[in-house]
């Protein structure tokens, strides 16, 4: 097995003046090029993990290793260059006056020479399909477009990993699809590791692997197939199963002989309309 790009060992964290742990004894790894989703209800500690990964918060116990090196004061700036974090609110992470200024922000922070910036901005904006908006101000963009600019800002740094911290939860369905489609493409074509933190199982269903968090601890880990088999256990910790998964299990309860496993909406439709002809 290849060296994991990210490994977390026994990490615990408590916010100041609180006795309960927000994250308790969490361990997991991520491989290069993998799409890993961390799911959990509000307050399950998943966003806290994202913040610890780029050194915005410091774990009380445990170690975080990125690219084989321990995350500490000496490596944090390199980590922030190689790992991009997209936050939930599209407006509150847009720093620049225009799209190009915003993409340039992280480049400026890292002291990239101006001549190279122009090249990198052009490249990044192309990857998120936002070329016509280069000179737009943020208030003329939709939420989904702003999130794609945030992604471009990360891409300009040529990252190894992108963390989406509820990055689609404030978007309309179209904006959400735009953003996820962009990230999926980057994940496939450039083997950028994606860590998607979400409470939306529909979104998490598309990941290679899922980690379910509850009350600061890892409750389960596995492929979407394995995780969705937990069924009502997920619902009990406040997660909403995807429609197709719920529908599939209801139909099975009614005695309809669907094949085993979980479904995306398309797969369920496919299964249903071919159900009788297959026999």
């Amino acid at each position: 097995m290849a060296e994991p790009i990210l490994s977390i060992e026994g990490v615990s964290f408590r916010y100041p003046n609180q006795s309960d742990y927000a994250v308790q004894n969490v361990s997991f790894t991520a491989e290069r090029g993998e799409w890993l989703a961390i799911v959990g209800h509000n307050g399950s500690g998943k966003s806290t993990i994202a913040r610890m990964l780029i050194g915005l918060l410091r774990p009380e116990r445990g170690a975080i290793r990125l690219f084989g090196r321990l995350l500490n004061d000496a490596t944090v700036w390199e980590v922030r260059r190689r790992v991009g974090l997209v936050f939930q609110n599209p407006d509150n992470q847009f720093v620049g006056a225009t799209v190009e200024d915003d993409i340039a922000f992280a480049l400026e922070n890292n002291g990239i020479p101006r001549s190279e910036m122009v090249e990198r901005i052009r490249e990044a904006i192309r990857q998120v399909h936002m070329e016509p908006f280069l000179h737009y101000e943020p208030h003329r963009l939709s939420g989904g477009q702003k999130q794609r600019v945030a992604i471009a800002g990360i891409l300009a740094l040529r990252p190894d990993m992108i963390i989406l911290d509820e990055a689609t939860s404030m978007l309309d369905p179209r904006g959400r699809e735009e953003v996820l489609e962009t990230v999926r493409r980057l994940n496939r074509q450039q083997r950028i590791t994606v860590l998607s933190i979400t409470h939306d199982l529909e979104e998490a269903a598309k990941a290679d692997r899922l980690i379910v968090m509850n009350k600061g601890e890892v409750m389960a880990e596995g492929t979407p197939e394995q995780i969705f088999r937990l069924g009502s256990k997920l619902e009990r910790i406040g997660l909403d199963l995807p429609f197709a998964v719920k529908m599939g299990s209801r139909l099975r309860e009614q005695g309809i002989p669907l094949r085993a496993g979980y479904f995306t909406t398309e797969e369920l439709v496919e299964e249903l309309w071919t159900l009788y002809s297959k026999k």
């Binding site: 992470q93 992280a106 480049l107 400026e108 101006r114 901005i121």
Partner: protein, 265 residues
């Protein structure tokens, strides 16, 4: 709300004035504001007006638009004019209404002072009309650059200015949203007595403040996540390019100043 007040607005364009380096424009306007006070006779005021009018004409912004924008300050100009008309007692009496008498010096002084005021507003308005706020910020940061040696946090101040400019539309949108939300809950923003209207405004300001603090916190986190650690070792994407035409304009202002010194009495 402020659609007829054009001070502080930007009108997109590609005129010579629009394309001037923001530093040059800032220096021109700053110098102009100073040398306006050199003028003290008809010839010098004529010269100043000519310069300002030429500057405005070169910007290709329609005069009618500028005139409309200056209308709100006409009252102040008129007030200045009247004040000087009646208060200055120099030269011959020209007209007498009861106890009030208008002197020749009063007319002259009134016209000069109100013209001076008009010219000042016109030139500063030309700056904002032809320069985007972010360019103004860049210009200020660059011009104040030498102050860094005196430990003035120029980079931080410029970034603060840029971020506040960037958030104006966002906060306007938010204000509108909160107003609608509160109106839906029965708050009346338009009518009622003064005290009631003040109360209504509090119901707008409190949520606006709270959300602004939240925004500031999230923005700071996002900036840090993107590797921001102060101005040290930072490169700049926006670049200002000083062109020969900028020097020409500055020279023109210098010439104007020299002429004013010669012609003033």
């Amino acid at each position: 709300m402020t659609n007829h007040l054009i001070i502080g607005q930007y009108v997109p364009g590609h005129s010579v004035i629009h394309r001037l380096d923001p530093r040059a424009k800032l220096l021109i306007v700053f110098a102009y504001v100073l040398i306006v006070f050199l003028a003290n006779n008809a010839a010098t005021y004529a010269l100043l007006s000519l310069f300002a009018l030429a500057f405005a004409a070169l910007s290709r912004i329609p005069f009618s638009f500028i005139a409309r924008g200056l209308k709100p300050i006409l009252w102040v100009v008129l007030f200045t004019l009247l004040l000087h008309l009646f208060m200055t007692k120099e030269g011959d009496v020209i007209y007498q209404i009861g106890a009030l008498s208008v002197y020749e010096g009063g007319i002259k002084q009134g016209i000069f002072i109100s013209l001076r005021f008009l010219l000042l507003v016109l030139m500063t308005t030309m700056l904002t009309l032809t320069t985007t706020p972010i360019e103004v910020t860049d210009g200020v940061e660059s011009l104040l650059g030498p102050l860094k040696k005196m430990r003035v946090p120029v980079h931080e101040l410029a970034l603060m200015m840029a971020i506040s400019l960037r958030f104006i539309p966002t906060l306007m949108e938010e204000t509108e949203k909160i107003m609608k939300a509160q109106a839906a809950r029965g708050v009346d923003f338009s009518g009622g007595r003064f005290s009631e209207r003040m109360k209504a405004i509090v119901s707008l300001l409190v949520p606006l403040f709270i959300s602004s603090f939240k925004r500031a916190d999230e923005l700071a986190t996002a900036m840090e996540a993107r590797g921001y650690r102060g101005g040290e070792g930072r490169t700049k994407f926006r670049q200002l390019a000083w062109k020969p035409v900028d020097t020409v304009f500055l020279a023109a202002v210098a010439l104007l100043a020299a002429l004013l010194c010669l012609l003033r009495s």
